[in-house]
């Protein structure tokens, strides 16, 4: 066998000095910034969040203050540009304050579910057969209830109120997150680089922290964002039924229910809170889509 001369790999053209290394998340960020739809959606969401945060400054009236004289004024009434509700309260102000409640009821349960469900899913994914089976079977039982049914049943039993709503929705959303985390963890666990990490005698926690979690996080983020859109609709639905936020708090679902009788009198006003729900939920859905596209790099073969 003749000598093969060793080519200096540092001279290989594709790694020209000066090209900044691009990690995974940087790539995701770059792709997101190029995605106009996602950017637009993010902007809309930012506006909604800002409106909610600065509600006291943005609202034109006290959301709880109504007057019989001003009931069900139509859109465009001077001073109440989105009209008034069935007790004379300004719709715009109630929408803006309602954004707070709706966002909280939408995001918080998903946050809790992600923390608890994520941890459970990780544990189930990493552990041996028995622990895995035990966790996943329990999850299966909760999965056996359609989510709306479960949310209603829990709220129906423990009562209404914003705290109970958040609790109920957290319970409803934990099983799906456990499932998806477990699935992702199992996939990652079997990859070569995790085996190499095990072969290096590193402690388990180190392996979880450095090898497994970074590779699972992306998928979880996409899923959690899509869950927020469902959570907003579901929490509004609970309030719609009288099981969520209690009157006279301004909450979009509650407003929809209260205005139901008004559809014969002032249909447009009656539909407005729903528009808010649709827009917010749609934004989270599109955001989740955008994240998924940005993360789905086809790695070169």
């Amino acid at each position: 066998m003749t000598e093969i001369s060793l080519v200096d790999p540092a001279l290989v053209p594709e790694v020209a000095a000066g090209l900044e290394p691009r990690g995974y998340w940087q790539g995701v960020g770059e792709r997101l910034l190029r995605d106009r739809v996602t950017l637009a959606v993010a902007a809309v969401l930012a506006v909604i969040i800002l409106l909610a945060v600065f509600a006291p400054w943005v609202a034109t009236h006290d959301p709880l203050q109504g007057s019989v004289l001003r009931r069900l004024k139509p859109v465009g009434t001077p001073g109440y540009f989105l009209g008034t509700d069935e007790t004379g309260r300004d719709i715009w102000s109630r929408l803006v304050y309602g954004a707070r409640l709706s966002l909280i009821c939408g995001i918080t349960p998903v946050l809790f579910a992600t923390m608890i469900g994520g941890a459970l899913g990780l544990i189930a994914g990493i552990s041996g057969r028995f622990v895995n089976m035990a966790v996943m079977r329990v999850v299966d039982v909760f999965y056996a209830f359609p989510s709306v049914l479960l949310a209603i049943a829990i709220c129906g039993v423990i009562g209404a109120g914003i705290g109970n709503t958040i609790l109920s929705l957290s319970v409803v959303f934990t099983p799906p997150i456990v499932r998806i985390t477990e699935s992702l963890t199992t996939q990652v666990k079997n990859r070569d680089f995790v085996e190499a990490a095990r072969a290096s005698a590193a402690p388990l926690l180190s392996i979880i922290r450095h090898q497994i979690v970074p590779n699972v996080l992306g998928g979880m983020l996409v899923y959690a964002t899509s869950l927020v859109s469902i959570s907003i609709i579901l929490s509004a639905g609970l309030s719609f039924l009288g099981l969520g936020v209690t009157p006279p708090n301004p909450e979009w679902g509650l407003m929809l229910n209260a205005l139901r009788q008004a559809i014969f009198v002032n249909p447009i006003v009656a539909a407005l809170p729903g528009v808010a729900i649709v827009i917010t939920s749609l934004c989270f859905n599109l955001l989740s889509d955008g994240l998924r596209s940005a993360m789905d790099i086809k790695l070169p073969a």
Binding site: A144, F145, I152, V157
Partner: protein
């Protein structure tokens, strides 16, 4: 195959067992003595004690559970605290009404969703794809109770061609066009979310399949478009069916919101009333039956999946 079914059956029984435990445990989440809910506070002590024994509240929890389970398996879901009638009868008739809505909604939603999804996938990137994608994602993001209201506004108030509420005199299954008119709005409303979910799911699954090599191979073999579509759909069917099963369950369980808007006397409204009247036996019975239905539907879907996709059977 038989092995697969047997295993799946065992799994289902286990899950049903778990469901019953959770449902039973539900009432014990209520703060306070369950008995207080059933009786007015001024009831004389002897009545309270007697009812305690009669309902079995004095026995330890697991004995109560097994007694309850025994009754349930024999078809006795308890008696409504409010009406005094047995739960089973009322529940199943209400369930029948819900099915009158859920089944057509499922059919409409699934077929529309599959069509839209497939068309979108085969026209990937073009205007048709974008159009269908918008439709499906809107369907997903819309609270259907709101859509119900909007539809009522548009088609019953502003332009009154359809009835706003009620089920019609026929009682469920429409026996005439008059009665069927009552069905239209609720069914359309209910079908939106399944359409959205299925549409997106089918689109992404078909896209994934198309990106594999075998459709190109089929095309190179000279197969006509229609046959290729058929092959692709066969491959897309298993995951789509799983989602359809889930959606059917969702329709059964989530119909409560739409039923409230349309005043449709289905199981959803039944449950709603039970919650407000604190009618625990009714609530328990409804949740148990609906959840069990869901589990059985999923079992059926799994078996059907295995029939189509030999890889699942193993």
């Amino acid at each position: 195959m038989a092995q697969f079914i047997t295993l799946r059956l065992l799994h289902t029984i286990l899950i049903l067992f778990g469901v019953s435990v959770v449902t039973f445990g539900l009432i014990h989440l209520i703060p306070g003595n369950p008995l207080d809910i059933l009786l007015p506070p001024e009831a004389p002590k002897e009545v309270v004690e007697r009812l305690k024994v009669e309902f079995g509240f004095d026995k330890p929890l697991y004995l109560q559970y097994f007694a309850w389970l025994g009754r349930v398996v024999r078809g006795n879901l308890g008696t409504s605290v409010f009406t005094g009638l047995p739960v089973t009868g009322e529940l199943f008739s209400a369930l029948g009404n819900t099915l009158c809505l859920a089944v057509p909604a499922a059919l409409v939603g699934f077929s529309l969703g599959t069509t839209f999804g497939t068309l979108a996938a085969f026209n990937y990137g073009r205007a048709l794809d974008k159009l269908f994608s918008i439709i499906t994602i809107l369907g997903l993001s819309m609270p259907h109770y709101w859509l119900a209201i909007v539809l009522v506004i548009v088609l019953a108030v502003l332009w009154p061609i359809l009835p706003a509420v009620g089920m019609g005199s026929g009682g469920g299954l429409p026996t005439s066009w008059e009665d069927a008119r009552f069905l239209i709005l609720p069914v359309v409303t209910l079908s939106m979310i399944p359409m959205g979910v299925i549409g997106r799911m089918v689109r992404s699954t078909v896209l994934e399949i198309l990106s594999q090599e075998f459709p190109t191979a089929l095309q190179a073999k000279g197969l006509r478009r229609r046959r290729i579509v058929w092959h692709v759909l066969k491959n897309a069917a298993p995951p789509a069916m799983a989602v359809m099963g889930l959606q059917l369950g969702y329709l059964l369980g989530g119909s409560i919101l739409v039923e409230t808007v349309f005043n449709w006397p289905g199981s959803g409204q039944f449950m709603n009333l039970a919650i407000f009247r604190r009618d625990i036996p009714v609530l328990q019975g409804t949740v148990l039956v609906l959840a069990s239905f869901f589990v059985l539907i999923n079992l059926a879907v799994d078996v059907a999946q295995a029939l189509i996709d030999p890889r699942i059977r193993r």
